[in-house]
Symmetry: C2
Subunit: 434 residues, 2 copies
């Protein structure tokens, strides 16, 4: 084996390294997710260049460099790929805590809407917020997500609902590409979230604006186009019209599908070759077969079920149909104010029928697939060095030990957060006794 280039980061003394690259790569994998015990991992820049058993680290030849690598001692604990949150509404202003509490004190959705609540209240607050305010709010949320192990975050527009405001939200999401110490943000254009009040009398005009004006204008800046396909939002025909145009313009596609009613959105996602179909609470068996056949990832969002006190989606059923399952927070002010993907893993195992390996795949490999990202979600040489460092000696504590943050740090593109303490030489990299 030829010498590897000089490392910039070495993580040693890893108790369990979960590569998520197991031998069984089928969606229903309940077996190995790829675990190396007593492992080490080496990166150069933002990429992994080596990983394997700790005992082999000394046998690897590295080219010398004047700059010693950063060294992290994982203390015999668990390291996984950085978690990937494939469905969030990251950028908005205001909160709806009062509305949440009123609802759980017995107020109906109609009463809350009559008091000016619901999505319209977030739209108003978001439209009124400046670019700087929105960046600051999103940054705070990204920091909280990072603190809980997340290194990639999808971020939807959809609370602006006019050209200028939607573009502001998109620009905020794109902005974070320059902040390399934060999770990477994948921007999604969700102009078709709901029809805004000023278009209620002519919803066709809103669909035309989204499809014929905004979509072309935002192409290249948003990676995905998403539509909320639902009785209260956009019809199947409207959804097809918008997403077909988006596909021609080079967007990847997502759908909010089958959340509150059986809309036909899942079958449409399969027909259009969408990357993911999200929610799926009301999907029928045929819908799931379509998704499986088309390779569409099913993104399930248990935080909504907790917030709304509705049944948790049955992930087991998706897996039985051969659909790859991702779990995401759906972080948003109305139906899930939670930045912590670990919570979704716990709910996925406790209430949705997922096994631990399936739940871990759902926030790593399958979540990467839900974002059409081939460079992350698993760990191997050549892939991004995005990691979550856990404060547990065995991965089976994940989901079992719930409601607290088990992650102590992350690595994003080869850079540790919190930063690793400085070291003076390459020598400390030799294996120590455990």
């Amino acid at each position: 084996m030829p010498a590897l280039p000089p490392p910039t980061l070495v993580i040693r003394n890893i108790g369990e390294l979960l590569t998520m690259n197991g031998e069984r790569t089928i969606p229903s994998a309940t077996g190995s997710v790829g675990i190396i015990s007593e492992a080490a991992l080496v990166a150069r820049g933002e990429r992994i260049i080596w990983l394997g058993p700790m005992a082999q680290l000394d046998e690897i030849a590295f080219e010398s460099s004047e700059t010693p690598p950063q060294i992290i001692d994982a203390g015999g604990k668990v390291v996984t790929p950085g978690l990937i949150d494939a469905h969030t509404h990251l950028v908005f202003a205001g909160d709806r805590a009062g509305e949440f509490q009123q609802r759980h004190a017995g107020a109906s959705y109609e009463e809350i809407q009559a008091r000016g609540g619901g999505i319209a209240s977030t739209m108003r607050a978001t439209r009124a917020a400046s670019y700087g305010e929105l960046v600051a709010l999103a940054r705070e949320r990204l920091r909280s997500m990072r603190a809980h192990g997340t290194t990639t975050v999808e971020a939807k527009t959809g609370y602006g609902l006019d050209r200028e405001s939607e573009e502001r939200l998109l620009t905020v999401a794109v902005h974070f590409a320059a902040e390399t110490d934060l999770p990477q943000v994948v921007p999604t254009f969700l102009g078709a979230h709901v029809v805004p009040p000023e278009f209620r009398a002519d919803r066709a005009a809103y669909v035309r604006a989204v499809r014929d004006e905004w979509l072309p204008a935002f192409a290249g800046r948003a990676a995905f186009c998403d539509v909320f396909c639902e009785r209260s939002a956009f019809s199947l025909d409207e959804t097809r019209s918008i997403l077909s145009t988006a596909r021609r313009l080079g967007y990847h596609l997502k759908l909010h599908a089958e959340q509150l009613s059986r809309s036909g959105g899942a079958a449409l996602a399969a027909e259009l070759g969408a990357t993911s179909a999200d929610h799926l609470d009301c999907a029928g068996d045929a819908d799931l077969d379509h998704l499986a056949a088309a390779g569409v990832v099913g993104v399930l969002l248990p935080g909504c079920s907790l917030t709304l006190n509705t049944p948790y989606p049955d992930a087991r059923r998706l897996i039985a149909h051969g659909v790859r399952v991702a779990l995401a927070t759906d972080f948003n002010p109305g139906t899930c104010y939670c930045e912590n993907l670990q919570m979704m893993v716990a709910l996925g195992i406790a209430h949705m029928g997922l096994t631990l390996p399936e739940a871990l795949l759902a926030v790593t490999r399958h979540a990467a697939a839900a974002l059409a990202l081939a460079d992350r979600g698993t760990l191997a040489p050549g892939l991004r060095c995005d990691l979550a460092l856990w404060d547990i000696p065995r991965h089976d504590a994940i989901g079992y030990h719930f409601g607290v943050n088990l992650v102590t740090g992350v690595v994003i593109g080869g850079r540790p957060h919190p930063p690793a303490p400085p070291v003076s030489s390459w020598e400390p990299c030799a294996p120590s006794s455990r």
Copy 2:
């Protein structure tokens, strides 16, 4: 008003101070829980000596002292009583993460028991652990609880199940009285948790040992005696026999009642004047009426429902019957590995029908009642200065913003954790602009 003695701690600039002493003190209170906006709080030693609107702080005369008080600026955020976790199995060794994951991968309880799992595996690990190991494990858990806002923790024995081991667990719980920077621990003797294997052939002998030997020996060290009244544990007659003796010996009483089946435990709790009846998932209407009439607090444990994927207890129903509801973690290795009471508040609101005021009462005032502690759970002069400091400007974020830790620090008996930064004089106590 005469001058107050010199303060040792001043907390200023509190956005919302929740005293939990509202005008409506009935169990079904859904209204005020006592909120002072823009407030301050002053303590001397471990007791509160004043609280009220920030604007009145300068009008209060304090005797002078050479030692300036510690000053905490709450930054316009929320302060509540320190949270009280009224039901935990704090002291044990080992974990059952593997068993949890096997169960959620489809293994039956019988299969898990056949593999040596279940409560017996915790008993074996706990019996094998030294006093020092058990203290270290409990201390780590108490630190995590404290980090999540908890300042008082009930701690049951029950994983020793022989004289020597039960006494060791009890001594561990009592030990923490000397560690004043940790939550205060209220020890409960739960020798009657299950019949240990060596007594299976003669369960009456085990009941006699608990009742006639261990109970008298441990009197004065454990504040409570608790019995798991359930088909798989102890019968109603056995429970009555043990608890009646405990009452004569001066113990306060608790019962694990109506968890897995309708056992009659709730009515027995009322008959014996128990302080609390815990779990109550299967309690009937008459049971709840008995509890309400006798003033027994109902302690509900939603973490078990999450872990076991069973229906959440209906707290609304208890309140409708006039039962005071407390929420606790039930922290234990088998059915709830979670130290975070905020999680139980979120589940209480989301899945159990509690309003936010009711859920807050359930981890403060009513939790104190479930431990027969009159000196905490609400905030007023003369009561303990046990506080939770929250990183939120309005208390309605509690439960809404879930799955993360919203608490930044606590005060235990007038001592802040993490410690407040040093200040040189009393002057900074004057109100600043916000």
